[in-house]
């Protein structure tokens, strides 16, 4: 199994806490972390610094923050949905915001799910555990999205 989860998150604290929460809940799946939207697209389409890595795996799920440097979460989502290779890729928006406008935009541009990042650690732990179990183990991917190209 070469399953990976792509975590698009600019806050290193949140990166660390997310990975810690997964590990605490015995989710061992590899987590690839990118710090902004451009890097996320580079990884998914094999461009930029990932051009030299042809054998990158297609992630089982992308956890996408909305407020990101360079290219924002909603723009990343639109690019992914516009491309046949990532059209069906599960993208879960994982963000601090619970503004109506963010939720509406997320769904309008094709988010698979929208989960708010809780502030309380216990709730955060619970949310990440449920995400990991569901998207990495329970969810079935669309057939053609299993391989990179």
């Amino acid at each position: 199994m070469n399953d990976v989860m792509l975590l698009v998150e600019d806050n290193v604290d949140d990166q660390e806490l997310t990975i810690r929460a997964l590990r605490k809940n015995n989710v061992t799946t590899e987590v690839v972390t990118v710090n902004d939207g451009v890097e996320a697209l580079d990884f998914l389409f094999g461009t930029g610094k990932y051009e030299s890595q042809p054998n990158r795996p297609v992630p089982r799920v992308v956890l996408l923050d909305l407020k990101l440097p360079r290219l924002g979460g909603i723009d990343v989502l639109r690019r992914l949905r516009a491309d046949p290779r990532t059209k069906w890729l599960p993208v879960v928006i994982f963000t601090s915001s619970r503004e109506d406008q963010d939720i509406i935009d997320g769904y309008r541009f094709g988010a698979t799910s929208y989960v708010r990042k809780p502030v309380l650690y216990t709730e955060f732990l619970e949310a990440v555990k449920e995400l990991g179990l569901y998207w990495l183990m329970r969810n079935e991917r669309a057939p053609h999205a299993k391989n990179g190209d």
């Binding site: 604290d13 601090s96 109506d100 809780p118 502030v119 309380l120 216990t122």
Partner: protein, 728 residues
């Protein structure tokens, strides 16, 4: 009637014949007068011509000229011999005189007969400057009727003296043969006069009354009255070479006698015929007029209101059927009359009421117009102002009455007139049905040329086929200014809201992440390194984690408050009691250890945004739940308590800790707390959110409480003012 007609015919005939006879008599009289006067004139004419030529010849005699130039005994004697010679050369022996130029009689050769007129010798001749012989007027004195023929004895052009030949034509107080001759000529009743209207007339026997203006009517038969002789008909004929007229006159009766006789006779005959005609006519017409008279009488009675009069004429001719028809008509008129009278009365009443209404509404209009603060202007079909109230004159800066008759366009700036009239025209067409009215705004112009914004309500109506247009004009300068200020306020408010939204958005994203880090890593520290810390270290770490947690909750609630202020409201029908129960059960689920009772009463449904109203109920239930913590028999009650401003007053009551009523003002302020956090935990934002939502619904919220005796929160939900399209 017939008699009158007959009389008229006879009268016309008589007048025609009479005037024809009269005209013929007049012509005859005129002919007689003319021929008589002409013949008499000629009688004189021959003698006068001879007389004139002899005088003329004598005037040129050198002997007479010498006598007048040098009147000595010798020249005068010679001259006398000449004059006697001259006298004898004519069959009529006239008196001949010689005068000097300065008016002295030089010689007088008297007429040879015994009836000489010595006194007349001294009458000085009257001679003009002309060459010809001058004829004097006909003179009458107590002795004779005479005249002079005078010629000048000249030396070159100078009058040196005069020779006068005086002729007698009649002798006073005698019937001379000449008069008898003339009377034979003209007839015995006729009268003959000689003379002139200005110098007098004579009948050759003495002076006589004659016409005073015969010359003006020469050749025309003239009728005039003479004292003692009645009316006379006369004719004047001038005698050549003299200033005299021959006047011949006849008594009027003599001339018109026959025509007057005829008139008398025809009148008698006419009256007789008329009387006879009248008698016969009366006999014939009686047969027809009697029933007609009855008919007329009946009709008169009928017009006076008596419809029950029957004629009772029974005849087989046209009059009989006429009478029968009349009787039938009378009956049906009587029938119709009753209904008609009622109708007339009804219409009269209606008309009276309408008049009263009209004069009432006219008065109403006048007093309304004069008391109105708005300008009221009406114009006729030609766009001329025919009424404007005092407010209108003041608004546009005109003196009283100055605007009447002015075109309505006077009230508009010249450049805008066409546009405004086009717009009002469109308005009138679109509102053509009845006196429909609408409003429009435009710029108006005062008398001094200054402009100001107005609002016009236009109405149009038709009176007596003429279209009138009326408008109510309001000066909206103030409104415009306020509107601009409001728009400015709205814009800045919108800017503030945008800023607030941007702020909330960044708070939502960026303020939470550090807190999560704080909380997360404190917990991670506790989990991984808890065994390496002592009691105090662990306590501190817990405090850091708790503080971060509370701050996270605070941020969440602040964002909630911000959201309920900004979010768009949706209108829905909401059943409040089930909502109360749902949140109550939620509290029971979260805090199953407590025993709290609930009592809900049926309440009318509310209109509002269900998500926000749910938030209100949730906060109030949580509140009640929280403050009854120390109450062993906790009870929460929900119901309605009367109404305020027409909306039901809902309440949620608890029997918990309550609060001091003097702080109830602070209750709904954000971050305001009336209890210690340690006693009743909370952020103090909850009730602020509740109040904000209630206010946004146009309602009110207030609380009654006493310390230790529970609290009651009352609220109303006003009319939610959102467009119906949002309704779900």
């Amino acid at each position: 009637m017939i008699a009158a007609l007959l009389a008229a015919v006879i009268a016309i005939f008589a007048v025609a014949v009479f005037s024809e006879m009269r005209r013929q008599a007049e012509d005859q009289a005129a002919d007689r007068a003319r021929s008589a006067s002409l013949q008499i004139a000629q009688l004189f004419d021959n003698g006068i011509r001879l007389q004139i030529s002899q005088v003329n010849a004598a005037a040129a005699d050198p002997v007479l000229r010498a006598a007048t130039a040098q009147p000595t005994a010798r020249t005068l004697a010679a001259a006398r011999a000449r004059l006697i010679e001259l006298q004898r050369s004519s069959p009529i022996r006239d008196e001949i005189q010689l005068w000097s130029a300065d008016g002295e009689q030089l010689l007088n050769v008297a007429a040879p007969d015994s009836t000489a007129v010595p006194h007349a010798a001294r009458v000085r001749p009257n001679m003009g400057d002309g060459d010809s012989v001058s004829m004097s007027p006909m003179n009458v004195d107590s002795v004779a009727v005479w005249f002079d023929a005078t010629a000048a004895v000249k030396d070159g052009e100078r009058h040196q003296g005069y020779i006068v030949r005086r002729r007698r034509v009649g002798v006073t107080q005698s019937s001379g043969s000449a008069v008898q001759t003339i009377n034979r000529l003209i007839g015995i009743e006729a009268r003959f006069l000689l003379g002139h209207p200005e110098t007098g007339w004579t009948d050759l026997l003495g002076p006589a009354a004659g016409p005073t203006n015969a010359t003006a009517t020469t050749g025309v038969v003239h009728t005039y009255a003479v004292d003692g002789k009645g009316r006379q008909v006369g004719h004047a004929e001038p005698i050549a070479l003299t200033p005299w007229y021959v006047w011949v006159e006849f008594p009027h009766a003599r001339v018109y006698g026959r025509s007057m006789d005829f008139l008398r006779r025809i009148t008698i005959v006419g009256v007789g015929i008329a009387l006879f005609g009248a008698l016969v006519g009366w006999r014939i017409s009686r047969h027809i007029t009697l029933p007609l008279g009855a008919l007329t009488k009946a009709a008169t009675k009928m017009s006076a209101g008596d419809y029950e009069h029957s004629l009772g004429v029974e005849r087989r001719d046209e009059l009989g059927s006429l009478a029968a028809a009349f009787d039938r008509m009378a009956a049906s008129v009587e029938e119709a009359r009753a209904g008609l009278e009622e109708q007339v009365e009804q219409r009269t009443r209606e008309l009276q009421a309408t008049n009263e209404r009209l004069s009432g509404s006219e008065q109403q209009f006048r007093s309304l117009a004069s008391s109105s603060g708005a300008a009221i202007v009406t114009a006729d079909a030609n766009g001329k102002i025919n009424f404007v109230n005092a407010a209108g004159e003041q608004m546009f800066g005109y003196a009283s009455g100055e605007l009447i008759g002015q075109p309505i366009a006077t009230l508009m700036p010249p450049d805008d007139r066409a546009t405004i009239e086009e717009r009002t025209g469109r308005m009138m067409i679109s509102g053509e049905s009845g006196s429909h009215e609408r409003t429009m705004e435009f710029t108006a112009q005062r008398k001094d040329g200054s402009e100001f914004p107005v609002e016009l309500s236009l109405a149009s109506w038709v009176v007596g086929g003429k279209r009138l247009t009326g408008g109510v004009i309001r000066d909206i300068s103030e409104r415009k200014t306020m509107q601009a200020a409001l728009e400015q306020r709205a814009r800045s408010l919108e800017d503030a809201n945008k800023e607030l939204a941007a702020f909330s958005y960044s708070v939502s994203h960026d303020l939470r992440a550090p807190l999560r880090g704080l909380q997360g890593f404190s917990e991670a520290l506790l989990e991984d390194y808890g065994d390496k810390l002592d009691e105090r270290g662990l306590d501190y770490l817990h405090r850091v984690s708790d503080a971060a947690g509370r701050m996270g909750q605070l941020i969440d609630e602040l964002l909630e408050l911000s959201r309920v202020s900004r979010t768009e409201l949706r209108r829905q029908r909401i059943e409040l009691a089930p909502l109360v129960m749902r949140h109550f059960e939620e509290m029971q689920r979260l805090d199953p250890d407590r025993k709290v009772a609930i009592r809900t009463h049926p309440v009318p449904p509310a209109i509002g945004d269900e998500r926000l109203i749910s938030l209100v109920i949730q906060n109030l239930i949580e509140n009640a739940w929280k403050f009854t913590r120390q109450q062993p028999n906790a009870l929460i009650e929900f119901g309605t308590d009367g109404s305020r401003d027409g909306f039901p007053v809902y309440y949620i009551r608890d029997n918990g800790a309550g609060f001091d009523p003097q702080y109830s003002e602070k209750l709904f302020g954000a971050f305001e707390r009336l209890h210690a956090e340690s006693e009743f935990p909370g952020t103090g934002v909850g009730l602020a959110i509740v109040q904000r939502i209630i206010q946004r619904h146009g309602g009110e919220i207030w609380a009654d409480a006493a310390l230790g005796q529970g609290a009651t929160f009352h609220f109303t939900l006003g009319r939610l003012n959102v467009p119906a399209s949002i309704e779900s």
